[in-house]
Amino acid sequence: MAIEIAPRGKIKLPFWLIVLGVFAIILLIGFLGSYFYLEISIKKMSQEIQEKGTTLTPLIEAIEKKEEELNPIEKKIDDFGELLQKHKIPLNIFNFLEKICLPAVWFSDFNFTSEEREVIVSGHTDTFVILEQQILVLKQDPLVKSLNISGVSISEEGKVDFTFLLTFAPQIFTPLEITGQ
């Protein structure tokens, strides 16, 4: 008895299932492609970072060397500038006193301290009127910050003795204020 094999019928898949299958395969290819692309790019970029690092090292060294060379000079220039700004011209005090001293007023003992910008100067004049005028002249000058008068007395010669304690404005020491030279 002959055995008959029944022919296998063709499996017919619906269209949407084929589309879904193709879509899944495309997705898989896309995923694998992207994954390998990212992997290769990351490797390339890591190499690039390493190369840039080696470029950066001598650059940093050159900067450090230059800074080591320039920083002390910069500091010294700054320090010098600061010092120069504080550099005082004591001569201005003398020029100032010469300028404001009235003809009948004589200054004698003189004490000057630069830090406080203070001058203690003793003197004498003929009358109280002249002394008053001298005080007025000093008080009107913008370079005089404060004026204290002490030791006002009449000497044996009949002169009016006095002592001024003058405190000057900082501008007294600036080069522009040099007067009477």
């Binding site: 499996i11 898949l13 619906p14 299932l17 879904l20 299958g21 899944a24 997705l27 898989l28 995923f31 992207s34 994954y35 990212l38 992997e39 790019s41 990351i42 970029m45 890591s46 690039e48 970072i49 840039k52 690092g53 470029t55 950066l56 650059l59 940093i60 050159a62 900067i63 230059k66 800074e67 060379e69 320039l70 002390p72 000079i73 500091k75 010294k76 220039i77 320090d79 010098f80 600061e82 010092l83 120069l84 504080k86 550099h87 005082k88 011209i89 004591p90 001569l91 003398f94 004698s108 003992d109 003189f110 004490n111 000057f112 301290t113 630069s114 830090e115 003793s122």
Partner: protein
């Protein structure tokens, strides 16, 4: 027959989504980070190159001011010569018609001057007494002021004199430089 194929495809899609989330997304993030890192390095290199070229320009410009720098070095010497300072004063005093009566340079030799911590500029005070006329004193002060050593006149005092000559006491100050000194932070008490 349709059903098992559908299950396989759906399972495959789920597997793809899970794989994408756990493998693809971290890779993408790593890629973004590396990209940023490369950009950062590029910017850093560019900045450093620009900074170095600026430093080169400064250095070249500075070399044009060698004379001025030498004057600064003279004004702020690292190892000041007290003998040279004394000779300068002796010369200037006599050149301006004054007589040197007394000097006190003791503090210039004191170890404290060199040892003050935290200050690059070291003050070196000293005092002199000179005798002479008022115009001579003014001339002397003018020369001292113009001297490159930046000598400060801290105080001047002189008494009255009828003869026109008087003795003035001057407290002066010059400077030394300690390039390695840095201003210290305030110490924290224990």
């Amino acid at each position: 027959m349709k059903r098992p194929i559908l299950i396989i495809i759906v399972g495959f899609l789920i597997l793809l989504a899970v794989g994408g989330y756990f493998l693809g997304w971290p890779k993408y993030q790593e890629f973004g980070d590396k990209k940023l890192e490369v950009e950062g390095k590029d910017t850093e290199i560019k900045q450093k190159e620009e900074y170095l070229s600026k430093l080169e320009v400064f250095s070249n410009r500075l070399s044009e001011y060698n004379n001025e720098l030498a004057e600064i070095d003279f004004a702020l010497p690292v190892e000041p010569s007290i003998a040279a300072l004394f000779i300068f004063f002796q010369k200037t005093i006599s050149e301006n018609g004054l007589i040197l009566k007394d000097t006190d340079l003791g503090e210039l030799f004191s170890s404290e001057i060199q040892g003050t911590p935290g200050e690059r500029i070291q003050k070196m005070p000293f005092s002199i007494s000179v005798t002479g006329s008022y115009p001579a004193l003014k001339n002397f002060l003018s020369v001292v002021y113009r001297n490159t050593r930046l000598i400060e006149v801290n105080s001047i005092s002189f008494p009255s004199s009828e003869e026109g000559l008087f003795t003035s006491n001057l407290v002066l100050e010059t400077h030394a430089y300690q390039p390695k000194a840095e201003k210290k932070e305030a110490e924290i008490p224990e």
